[in-house]
Symmetry: C2
Subunit: 589 residues, 2 copies
Amino acid sequence: MAKRLHALAAHFRPPPVPTTQPHLHELDPAYFLPRAAAIEPAAIAIVHCDRSGATVQRDYFTEADRARRLAAYFKRRYTDGTKIGILAPNTPMFFELIFGIAGSGRIQAAFNYRLSPVEIRTVVELSAVDVVFVDIDCLDLLKRALGEDFPNLELVVDLDSEREEDLRDFRAAGHKNQTYGELMASTGLDKTPFDKLHFEDQPENNVFALAFTSGTTGKPKAVEYTHRGMYMAAIAGLTESECNHTDKGCRYLWTLPMFHAVGWSYPFAVTAVRGTHVCLRKIDYTLIWHYLTSGQGITHYNAAPTVNIQICEHPNATRLPERVLVTVAASPPSPSLLKRMISLNLIPVHVYGLTETYGPITRCYFLPEWRAHDDDLQFKKMSRQGHGFLTAQKARVVKPSLADKGELVDVERNGKELGEVIVRGNTCMKGYHGDEQATQKVFAGGWLHTGDLAVWHPDGALEVMDRNKDIIISGGENISSVGVENVISAHPDVVEVAVVGVPDKVYGERPKALIILRASGIAKDPATLKTELIKFARGRLGGFEVPREIDFVNELPKTSTGKIKKNELRNAERLKFELAQKALATTSG
Amino acid sequence: MAKRLHALAAHFRPPPVPTTQPHLHELDPAYFLPRAAAIEPAAIAIVHCDRSGATVQRDYFTEADRARRLAAYFKRRYTDGTKIGILAPNTPMFFELIFGIAGSGRIQAAFNYRLSPVEIRTVVELSAVDVVFVDIDCLDLLKRALGEDFPNLELVVDLDSEREEDLRDFRAAGHKNQTYGELMASTGLDKTPFDKLHFEDQPENNVFALAFTSGTTGKPKAVEYTHRGMYMAAIAGLTESECNHTDKGCRYLWTLPMFHAVGWSYPFAVTAVRGTHVCLRKIDYTLIWHYLTSGQGITHYNAAPTVNIQICEHPNATRLPERVLVTVAASPPSPSLLKRMISLNLIPVHVYGLTETYGPITRCYFLPEWRAHDDDLQFKKMSRQGHGFLTAQKARVVKPSLADKGELVDVERNGKELGEVIVRGNTCMKGYHGDEQATQKVFAGGWLHTGDLAVWHPDGALEVMDRNKDIIISGGENISSVGVENVISAHPDVVEVAVVGVPDKVYGERPKALIILRASGIAKDPATLKTELIKFARGRLGGFEVPREIDFVNELPKTSTGKIKKNELRNAERLKFELAQKALATTSG
């Protein structure tokens, strides 16, 4: 090992520096990988069950070496600033590309493999990638998306298997593309002089990644991430999620897709403390519980509330002997979910953010005095989005009507006045790629406008009530769909609930609840249960907030990050309403 | 509280921003204080036993408010970049000044109160301060230092007491100076418009503090710290020392003087996680054990090896039920000290750094595989200085003869070849204040030259063997004084040992040991014990490394940070040698 280590250290040696000021050093989170390899080369960086069913386990020396070889390859093959696409689940290739691309000064653009071919085509065009690294399971999707229209787009296919027969089958199927395995095999150390093989310092305000918004409010946008921004996000993530317990270590389970906001910065945060990345090719709740309960020592995972609901509801769910820290974000978790998670020793680190903020930018900080509250109040406080993150600036809530014009006037801190959340600081994006107009709009007045509506509590914590487009306006009153959901999800028969505004001839809109039931609820008479649920809600909400209509459903449409697609639900309800109106007109006519 | 909080939040509201890019935000660790107050205003920021014996305990709201008022006062009274001196032990005033000065864009210059009047005069002149905030206990020292020569230098005196009689006594003694209490009382909110009362953003590469080198190698130099550098140091400190355990909280005992390297960044690191600063006016080992054992929940302290030796040797020393994390630096700790600390549940976070690096810049990362080693090897590995810190770049060891010319050639990684430690990254100083020549010299080749000699081990960890000037050259062989000390300190009769080179007519120099004994050793016959110690060393060192001369002493001269002043010991030995030579010459003549 000593000899290999020495060789590695030589490759990562920084280049001669012209400046005489050693402190002028660019912030770059890619450095965490060679650093981890230098400190603890034998620490396990990644564990993965590949497509052939074999377990891949590689140490930090190996992963740093592979990323370095990729970086050298990218520098040889592509010009500075070339965009490199990724379409893959959470695999070692994805992890290595994140570092290899960042370390080479090229730009990664990771696509969501749950998008439709049309949507994939949109993000491929938007990012103008020269090459896409694609997992074999995503190849069909990509080919359907591209058609015959991108003849010069290079594809590198990851078979995610080291079995020879898998490569043979791939060729037998007529595929001509280079595979990721072949590419890695061709990037030997011998091909490039030693002193070229380090991660070169990149200007910290250069873009290193494009991340795509999930598109709940329209066409996805390409968000520009800088090296510096990601560095500050990663440092905050590792501190806020307490990845740095040296006595416990950090074994991070990759339930969150890496393609979303570069995994909320956790590829870098976990690597900064030489933690182990435990990959998951897909969200499989049985597998998640297997990892949590089979002595694998999982200490952390990140997931949206909807994913956590499924984890908590799973038949294998059991209280864990050691706490697991769970960073929860993407949509507001209900107090009942937080309570259920804690009962299983899944300790929520409740954060809030956007693709535009590298993931988390606020956190609900638990205050010791809350322990004196009863459960209801305690969990209600824990479900608020709180205050600016460690490396972020203060988040504010401002009057929405003025905010659009860039006039930023704080709402009252009374827990009632609804305003828009705006944020600032290093972990805000550089801008929307190639869309100066949208950038100017979202940065009105020098703050990033989140489009999320919130109240500001007297203690300074903010609480997100809704996406701007999800708020229900009924008879001139604002109804927070999240607020109604939080109440209904506390009912023992309810697994998950989405509340959306449906058209109403009198009130303009009124709330409707779509509910996934627990077995206990399914066993009941639907009409009786609906009456019971409405009564339950009436005791806890203002009269105008209580949904008069309830549908029991088997599933809810969700984005890849687990946000409920309320626009889809709303559109479906609107369509139903229009059809009913037409039918009515026809009948009347 | 709600009303007060709202008012505070208004004061700290960032000013209108001309830029449209919210991510372009200057890094400033001063922000951690208003942030802490916004999140958890009632959290205890500081606990202090003042000079009158009263306990002062203030929450984050109050401390943020006081620092903000100071910042506003400084902005009114002094021009941008004015230097503000501090001569005080660890008190709330010191803590508040650190933030108030940084937040105002002025520059702090904290002096070591253990310096002589002549030395104090040197640092006052070097920093060109307009005002000095001085603790009443340091006032005589300062006045002796200044004499009649600084008629325009303003003094603000901290009585560190709220008793009226103490102010009366102060006036009765003829003092005319404003007191800190009076100043704070005059900085009311009503005096300045609300919207001026925030910490304004400062350009991150501006200097915010001058820190003085401890002067073990000559006249002290004024080291320039930037806002950005301190931010990166603080973030690293809080992560490496695990101040962010939300379940344990952070109660930091201020054994380390705040004047040294701005407390190694811990005023900011602890504040970033809303920890409690427990002040100590002086190092008092009985008091330290009182804090550690009386249910005060101390979780962290930082101290040099010599201070830790005294803590471990104290009659009240006892194994603590909960671990306390101890950041150890300033000189290399011996393996036996690390072992003794762990036996008391004082868990060392062993770091290495300089005033020029904001304190720590490398850390000995404990590797799980070391658990398989026997104690001797495990503690020996733990006593190495390791690898670059979280936010630092890789530390290197280079050939010293070439290093001076800026030619940076790595030594072999064989654990044997001696070289100079050089470092780079954001946590390197901006330069020596007003000394371009010294700055150019220490930055030769674009790296900061530490002047410390080390070996580089095959696993990439570095181990400091000596200060450049402390290395003993005997018959052409290098002897590491630290290496010899580590061996002798493992002897059960030894509390502490310093090894220095003394003149030798044959070998040029030879090692001599000055030893403080335990009671067990004092009880023995000195001549027999010396023979025993030499035999003990002979079994563990090369023959030329064994000191042939040993003195038993009651104390060793130390700097304020606990470094043994080897230059003093060396000079004394040289003087003795010369006198002996003269006497010999006289006798012969």
